[in-house]
């Protein structure tokens, strides 16, 4: 069913909160995601020409970097992981002609049933975030599953039941939790840090939130101006000594 599920009172809304302040751009999330998912729910995630001149393949995480430059001429470099945002209003789901693309009522995760996907690619056209990638080998669409086969996996120790990208992040820039619960750790993080929706103007109401970098200012000492030297011979001597010593 590609009609969106009725919102259930008390239903969870699982998603990620990504801290752009602490992301170091190491791509570990992308690599661990690929590693887990090429053997998991969407296995395999193909690579085309992986060792050739034009390597290409299906990845659910893409790590960009941007520079924001303020009026003071002080640029800020920000690493920016991009993946499926598990939107509340996912056009990628409603355009699907087969019912392969769906949003789960119980936790809001957007998934593709690759057994009935016909590979028309319309869902990828409907996603403004470029989150879905087509598997040329299998002829079906693939996307981030929020590691549904980890987060509910009872054969994993409880501490490991989080998405692969979150588990691996060395700078703890990725957080996983229930964004429908205002008391959850991720919701509090979003409230404290002013988490934002990407491209909110398009109305997709993404579940994942991005925490903007903290506004920091590095205090620099004012440039020391040479004190006006006293005149006369003494002054000239002092200036000479100062010049020699500060060489």
């Amino acid at each position: 069913m590609t009609s969106l599920p009725q919102s259930q009172p008390g239903a969870r809304r699982l998603g990620l909160v990504i801290d752009l302040d602490t992301c170091v751009g190491c791509h570990a999330c992308a690599v661990n995601c690929k590693e887990w998912n090429t053997e998991g729910h969407h296995a395999p995630l193909p690579d085309y020409d992986p060792h050739g001149a034009d390597p290409d393949g299906v990845w659910f995480n893409r790590i960009h970097s941007y520079e924001a430059e303020g009026s003071g001429g002080c640029g800020k470099t920000v690493n920016f992981p991009r993946s499926c945002l598990h939107c509340e209003n996912p056009l990628c789901v409603t355009v699907c002609p087969t019912g392969a693309s769906y949003k789960r009522a119980e936790d809001g995760i957007v998934l593709v049933n690759t057994d009935i996907c016909i590979g028309c690619k319309l869902c990828s056209w409907a996603c403004p975030y470029g989150a879905r990638e087509f598997d040329e080998h299998d002829g079906v669409m693939k996307k981030c599953t929020l590691c549904i086969d980890r987060i509910y996996n009872e054969s994993l120790p409880e501490a490991e039941r989080e998405p692969a990208c979150v588990a691996t992040c060395p700078s703890r820039a990725r957080h996983f939790g229930d964004l429908a619960d205002p008391e959850s750790r991720v919701s509090k993080l979003v409230a404290e840090r002013g988490g934002v929706d990407l491209m909110a103007e398009l109305g997709y109401r993404p579940t994942n939130k991005y925490l903007p970098p903290r506004q920091t200012r590095i205090e620099t000492r004012p440039v020391e101006m040479p004190a006006s030297a006293p005149g006369g011979l003494g002054g000239a001597l002092l200036a000479l000594v100062d010049k020699v010593l500060s060489r």
């Binding site: 290409d56 393949g57 002609p97 019912g99 409907a126 990638e133 970098p213």
Partner: protein, 316 residues
């Protein structure tokens, strides 16, 4: 958006097929078609042949063609599914029209009724096709008030061109239905050309859907620009949705479309209307309209930008 020839064929050919079916129903109700028991069935076969060829072409781009039948299931939410359902459903009144024409004659009430129902459903199918594109919010050149009306106008134009060609060849005369269809070609060619020019003006004046500031949430830090890409080579998103056409090439193609798709068929149809070899001029007009509209559809894709390419620093 990267133009995929299967989808270009789909929308162009179904425009001709369903446009012809729509005009057949209307002309039949007006009593403007030849009364031969063969004309109706032959014309319906041609119309459904064009539409069917387009629909078959559209399955060529599917990753899993053998599962295409599943596309009929989600008509509650998906315009692509609705298009499939509408296309199949339109066959019923169209076949009823052909059978009734052969059995009861062109003037029978049942024939006229089937023809009008088929006409309405044919236009409904074209509308569903248009809405597949018009509903896609990330593509500003498609998600606007022009897309659906333009698809309908183009279907009416190309259907009229095909009907004029058919009547020109069938009757060899410029009188009656041929004249009516040729007059429609002239009117719709001018109307469609003007509408397309208005559409181009509109998309040229449109602002981007989003900015890198809103796409990254970094606007409060100043002007945002893309620094490093996640990967050095192309990926699916860039190959499928990052297509860029040079403004110079687009401008040249727009002129070619205006001449080939609209101006030339209008002149040829006017010649047919004036009685100058309608059996040659009218088919030639339909042929040029077909080539021109294929180019128009190519541009419709090539000029469309997908907002996701903004993450790669591309202009959207």
């Amino acid at each position: 958006m990267t133009p995929a020839s299967s989808v270009l064929l789909l929308t162009t050919l179904t425009g001709f097929g369903y446009g012809l079916l729509a005009w057949l129903g209307i002309f039949c109700a007006a009593g403007a078609l030849p009364e031969s028991p063969w004309f109706g069935p032959v014309a319906v076969v041609i119309a459904l042949g064009f539409a069917g060829a387009g629909l078959v072409a559209s399955t060529l781009h599917l990753g899993r063609k053998e599962r295409a039948w599943r596309a009929f299931s989600q008509w509650r939410s998906s315009w692509l599914s609705r298009e499939g359902v509408a296309a199949v459903a339109t066959n019923l009144p169209a076949l009823g029209f052909a059978v009734s024409w052969a059995a009861l004659g062109a003037g029978a009430n049942l024939t006229v009724a089937f023809g009008l129902v088929a006409a309405a459903m044919a236009l409904g199918t074209v509308f569903c096709t248009a809405m597949i594109y018009a509903c896609l919010k990330p593509i500003r050149q498609w998600h606007n008030r022009f897309t659906a009306p333009l698809y309908l106008v183009f279907a009416a134009f190309s259907g009229a061109a095909l009907l004029a060609a058919l009547l020109g060849v069938w009757t060899g005369a410029a009188a009656g239905g041929t004249a009516g269809a040729s007059a429609l070609v002239v009117v719709f060619a001018i109307g469609a050309g003007v509408a397309k020019a208005a559409y181009w003006r509109f998309i040229d004046a449109q602002g981007p859907l989003a900015t890198l500031a809103s796409a990254t949430g970094l606007g409060s830090f100043g002007t945002v620009r893309a620094l490093d890409r996640p990967h050095f080579t192309e990926n699916y998103v860039l190959r499928e949705m990052g297509y860029q056409i040079a403004r110079r090439h687009a401008a040249r193609l727009r002129r070619i479309v205006l001449v080939l798709a609209f101006a030339a068929p209008a002149v040829l149809a006017a010649l047919a209307l004036a009685g100058a070899m309608p059996a040659v001029a009218a088919p030639l007009a339909a042929l040029l309209a077909g080539i021109g509209l294929f180019a128009e559809r190519w541009l419709f894709f090539a000029e469309a930008t997908h907002v996701s390419a903004i993450y790669y620093g591309r202009a959207v």
